[in-house]
Assembly symmetry: C2
Homo-oligomer: 419 residues x 2
């Protein structure tokens, strides 16, 4: 059975008119596949409205009750979408997360999918052409409703696609696909035709909010072919797929940035074993997630320790640092919340050296000071002063040839194949 | 295990403040019982909002999808109420209709309860003091969500009380109980301390909208003691119970009225066998429910046929009558939608004669013309001109001694025990 999975985000189901456009996409999909699983989010704004309600009712809403509350948003979308499809003559029905058999663990608010009742789906698809599934939700082994956390409808869609071995998982959203960078900052940004799971993971974690990161992990794990595209146009979208040989020819696929960054510097940390653990263990215990960590080479037995965290966690992190300052013997705690992170991402880096150097040179030419650097196999990230964010994004976008026609940046002089 | 069932209607859960008052009632209830099942309606206005949404989305919303949509209203109330209880230190959790195991038939929009999973409830009550149940909803054998129709939360509550053999089913609403008549029309209306199931059934079907009629049928069938009372006061409320000997001393317990009445008269209907069937079968097939039917004694082989229906069905009914007019040989079709029904209800009538005569005399003294009469064992109903509704209600309320202190009307001269 050729099954297509289609997911429509909050903006795509926000009104009757938009849902009618979404329905067109389902009808078009049924030309290409026999059956479709249509995963819907809550109408945009709905989840926040329900969260506000919970916070009004309780200073610290019980997570299980909050999940039951939040799950109504997607339930409403699913019922309305199924009505529309039936009115178009499609044999369709809605399914809640429980009905479609999305079994999760007991971590309310951020549940992880454990299993999906594939047999129920295939059996139900004998009677229906389309199952409209309430995204973002599942059910525990003992029958309580869970939610998968923000953006969880993407995860629902990819997990369903994996379960039924769908031919494709289309993620419909309000943009035309994945771009080389944010078009609001860099008008030359191009839509990518293809991007690898790994690149998408780096971009998702960098604030390119097209696809929720857990859904990309899922897609990678089960090799689900994903197509990100717009509900509001016929543009072909971006395929998120396994790495393919042709991808290696492109050094850098995209430039991401993240303004939600704050830097903390501990001056004159005694350079002795266990000191890093003493710093980062209490932060982890307080559930503050540290991003980059840079330790300067030590001089005279002391070193500077730099790390970045989300801005909302800054005051908490500073408090914790002050608590341990004396016991560590740190002379000074500095912080800076006027910083941002820019990153160049590309699987091509795996096989080429010199990409980092090219990035640093490009930034230096614009007199952008690099405060911290971190690199991975397919990513180079730099912490810079926040005011340079747009300039840095445009500079890197140009430097790696992303602003011209596809392929223009491949012959950069400073970069050479490393094998 | 002493279990109390408490049901809170839409006005009682409409806001945080009101739900906090409702919570007080639960806390008070837990003084009297070990465990409580708290059934909640959707916040007032919510169900209509969802219905409007359905109608906007589809000219004729699929009933199953509409039920999934509507069920979210009670789901939200249950989650919020459970949060409040937990914040007060109560071990509480929410349950959807499916979770608590309210099994229904497949009649979406008006499902009937088939079974309740008593074992699940008793087992879950080992871990929790209070289960907050989303009213108005259930689940079919194959796992689809149903709703029980308007006022269905009352039915949920009574059915749950029957299933667990609760010591009491308290129906909390925005009035203090069941009144001898509508206090807006008759300021002397008194709250009744007790009323029998049968009286309550007649009152419910007459537009005294305190308790949904199906819930009263359920309560009667399973002898569930019901107490109707206010969320917003400490007044003791009205017990709805089995008929008790003391009730027979009161001839009339209450006066009900219903303005949603229209009368159709077929003039000169040939008085031959099968004519009534010819008139009422097509009405029934069109799902129009006829209330009173009065056939005048025939003269010269023809008779007048009078019947009443709901005003919204009048035009439909007239169309159907016109269709069959010629084949029946009816000379004229008349109608009147300026009529209302007033009724006197009381189990005491079973054992006393003369109650009807007393009612007619009282109306005649005020020059209120009686257009149609129908009587049952415990009820006398009169169709009158609508403009006399308030006067008729007050007149009957006085005539049967309901305006004075309890018991004042029992020695009416015109009424005597019939055994």
């Amino acid at each position: 059975m050729r099954i297509l999975v289609q997911k429509f985000g909050g903006t795509s189901v926000a009104s009757l008119e938009r849902m009618q456009l979404a329905r067109q996409k389902v009808l078009a999909g049924l030309q290409r596949a026999e059956k479709a699983l249509v995963v819907v989010s809550a109408r945009s704004g709905e989840t926040n409205k329900l969260l506000d309600l919970a916070r009004k009712w309780s200073p610290e809403p019980d997570p299980a009750e909050q999940d039951l509350l939040l799950s109504t948003g997607e339930q409403i979308s699913a019922a309305l979408f199924a009505m529309l499809l039936k009115d178009a003559g499609i044999r369709a029905r809605s399914c809640t997360g429980r009905q479609i058999g999305i079994r999760t663990d007991n971590v309310f608010g951020k549940a992880r999918i454990r299993a999906i009742d594939k047999d129920f789906i295939l059996k139900t698809l004998e009677d229906f052409e389309v199952l409209v599934v309430a995204g973002f939700q599942g059910v525990t082994a003992d029958g309580r409703i869970t939610t998968l956390g923000r953006g969880g409808s993407d995860t629902s869609a990819v997990a369903l696609a994996a379960a039924v071995q769908a031919q494709l998982c289309e993620i419909f959203t309000d943009v035309e696909g994945v771009f080389t960078t944010d078009p609001n900052i860099c008008p030359q940004a191009r839509k990518l035709d293809r991007v690898s799971y790994d690149e998408m993971l780096e971009m998702a974690s960098m604030g390119a909010k097209v696809l929720e990161i857990r859904s990309v992990e899922f897609a990678k794990k089960f090799t689900v072919p994903v197509l990100v595209r717009s509900t509001f146009s016929d543009a072909p979208g971006t395929f998120v797929t396994q790495e393919e040989p042709c991808m290696e020819h492109v050094l850098v696929s995209g430039i991401a940035y993240d303004r939600d960054q704050a830097r903390i510097t501990l001056r004159a940390v005694p350079d002795r074993p266990g000191v890093a653990a003493a710093i980062f263990t209490p932060l982890a215990q307080a559930n503050l997630s540290v991003d980059m960590i840079v330790q300067n080479p030590s001089h005279d037995g002391v070193t500077d320790m730099n790390f970045t965290i989300s801005r909302k966690d800054l005051s908490n992190a500073l408090r914790i640092m002050k608590d341990i300052q004396d016991s560590l013997g740190v002379t000074e705690i500095l912080f800076d919340d006027n910083v941002a992170k820019v990153s160049a991402i590309g699987v091509g880096m795996r096989n080429h050296s010199g990409v980092a150097a090219a990035a640093f040179s490009a930034l230096r030419r614009e007199n952008i000071n690099i405060l911290m650097i971190s690199t991975s196999e397919i990513k180079i990230s730099c912490i810079i002063e926040e005011k340079y964010t747009e300039l840095a994004v445009r500079t890197l976008h140009d430097a790696f040839g992303l602003s011209g026609p596809p392929g223009a940046g491949e012959d950069m002089e400073t970069v050479r194949p490393s094998r």
